[in-house]
């Protein structure tokens, strides 16, 4: 099926070349990091995880969100999602790959990364995260391959794939739960040590992921013959609405518990995020932007008129995605380290090579999505050129 990705229009190849350029830049930056060490990033003794781990966390959510199309289709027999389940599965594969790459570039000794398998350590959540992520990648690769292959041949998918698809549903929940457990089990980091972290992760995942899927569907409608149809997009929009409302609710619960209890080590992290601590306020404008975007998104989504209008729906989806990217892809990880367990407030902003590496990994993910969607749509004969 891969040959379908090798034929395409000029704009297709132009897009692929653009992504390849970004990937190359990221690779060059990574080679520099490989030679010098993680010292070329903005990370430091106090803020030891940053952009890479935050992107990993955010993208685990995007990957898990595929379940929001798979579950209604396979468990509730919601036929209208039939056309887009494959898009969700391909999005999951690309997102998990990006997650793994972000973990990889964060390693101080990348050549030793297989030690995680050589010395399996069940008491480390990182071991379980590796199992759940690679399992999820395998499941989605298998499912999308088998169902698409059946579609190409014009036959029904084999029966044995059904239990595997069903298994992928709890598995999707597990990847984000285990990822939340990485953080929420650390007594050293009061900001993360909250039982609601995993539910919060799931709520943000189930809003950011389907929002992205809506955007993808609309982009595909514009540039290809593929049309997901109005009804499935509207249904996805309802999912985004509920998940986003729950996510905002959860965040407010965290803020309440921290502020009302009055425990300094809980309040300080929120102060750092929204007001700044000891004059260090790099994240403050970002966090307020995220808060405002969340409100705008909720207004546009809850109002049936603006949710039904695809123009305003696009704005809402972009607002959801951006707000959650800031919340999880910037604030959540960095604020866990500021202030440090010794009370030190350290500023962190990613260095240029660090940003280039991150952009390069995103380019790899978008490249994968491009190729996968191209294949899927070619199989269905829905590509214009």
């Amino acid at each position: 099926m891969l040959e379908k990705a090798l034929q395409g229009s000029r704009s297709y190849w132009g897009w692929v070349a653009f992504l390849a350029g970004l990937i190359l830049l990221g690779f060059i930056a990574y080679m520099r990091q490989f030679a010098v060490g993680l010292g070329i990033t903005g990370l430091s003794r106090d803020v030891t995880w940053g952009l890479y781990i935050a992107q990993f966390t955010f993208l685990v959510g995007v990957a898990a969100s595929a379940v929001m199309v798979v579950l209604p289709y396979y468990l509730h027999n919601y036929k209208l999602f039939g056309k887009i389940t494959i898009l969700g599965e391909f999005l999951a594969i690309s997102a998990v790959t990006m997650c793994m790459l972000f973990i990889f570039v964060d390693m101080g000794q990348p050549t030793r990364v297989l030690n995680v398998m050589l010395y399996p350590t069940p008491n480390s959540l990182m071991f379980w995260d590796m199992i759940s992520l690679s399992g999820y990648l395998g499941l989605n690769a298998l499912i999308s391959h088998v169902t698409l292959d059946a579609e190409r041949k014009g036959i029904a998918p084999p029966h044995w794939i059904k239990p595997i698809i069903i298994l992928s549903i709890p598995w999707a929940v597990s990847i984000h739960t285990v990822t939340a457990f990485l953080y929420s089990g650390l007594a050293a980091r009061p900001f993360w040590m909250t039982a609601i972290l995993a539910p919060r992760f799931l709520a943000s995942a189930f809003s950011a992921g389907p929002a992205l899927l809506i955007l993808f569907c609309l982009i595909l409608r514009r540039f290809t013959k593929f049309d997901a149809g109005r009804e499935p997009i509207q249904r996805l929009a309802v999912i985004v609405t509920y998940a986003m409302a729950i996510n905002v609710f959860f965040v407010l619960m965290e803020v309440f518990t921290a502020i009302y209890s009055g425990i300094p080590e809980h309040i300080e992290h929120f102060e750092f995020l929204y007001l700044g601590l000891e004059g260090k306020a790099t994240l403050v404008p970002w966090m307020w932007a995220s808060a405002i975007l969340s409100v705008i998104a909720l207004v546009l989504l809850i109002n049936p008129k603006t949710r039904g209008n695809e123009r305003t729906l696009v704005a809402a989806c972009i607002a959801v995605f951006t707000a959650l990217w800031i919340e999880k892809g910037l604030g959540l990880i960095i604020a866990g380290f500021v202030p440090s367990p010794m009370g030190t407030v350290t500023s962190y902003s990613p260095s240029i090579p660090e940003v280039l590496i991150a952009v390069g990994i995103y380019a790899i993910g978008i490249f994968m999505i491009t190729v996968f969607y191209k294949i899927a749509l070619s199989v269905r004969g829905e590509v214009k050129v």
């Binding site: 390693m107 101080g108 590796m130 050293a188």
Partner: protein
Amino acid sequence: MERERRALLKLAGLTVVGLAGGALARTAEASSKHAAKPGTKRLAMVIDPRKCLENDGCTDCIGACHAVHNVPPIDDPRHEVKWIWKEKFSGAFPDQEAEYVDEALTSKPVLVFCNHCDNPPCVRVCPTQATWRRDDGIVMMDWHRCIGCRYCVAGCPYGSRSFNWVDPRPFLKSPTPDFPTRTKGVVEKCTFCDERIGKGQQPACVEACKEKALVFGDLNDPDSAVRQTLRARFALRRKAGLGTRPAIHYLV
């Protein structure tokens, strides 16, 4: 459809029960670990801050430790590597409020290093067992197995772990050939001088302290110097409420 949904719920229920059972088993195991096994040692240290502060500005223990362990002197605070250092009182004991005590006491720094916890979070989170707890209580570090994921750094409530952000070797003017140097990208910390203890010596910091502010010994031996000191005087441990059970005691 209905049957599948039910099967799915059953599977989810069983998973939850399994996970909870595992967690309980671990808790039970952890609490039984605190009981001393006969014939084993529990190495620990007692610090007398009053003696430590007698000679203001003294850094003998830090100098000795960092010299014998090839700890690189990196000036950039972002990339600093340290095994033992002086921390401000509020940083070392954030949960000890002492508003009205004579400022001379709380304005002075506190000597801090790895606490060699009974229940070390760093060991719990390490995905490769590159850090582990010996039976005598020392939390060890294997610099050749460490993948540099820094999960232990995030897990340590005491900031005791340092990561090599850059190659440490160019910073070492005259490295000791008796002790390995480290490479970039691995985590390191105090190991209670396991290499010296093995030869029957005292840790380098204890030996270097002229004021005898550091006492090292076996907590399981009722006649040891650490036990005698702890019997006579009240001592604090850093963030005792977290249940890590540190082996470093600070006399009040």
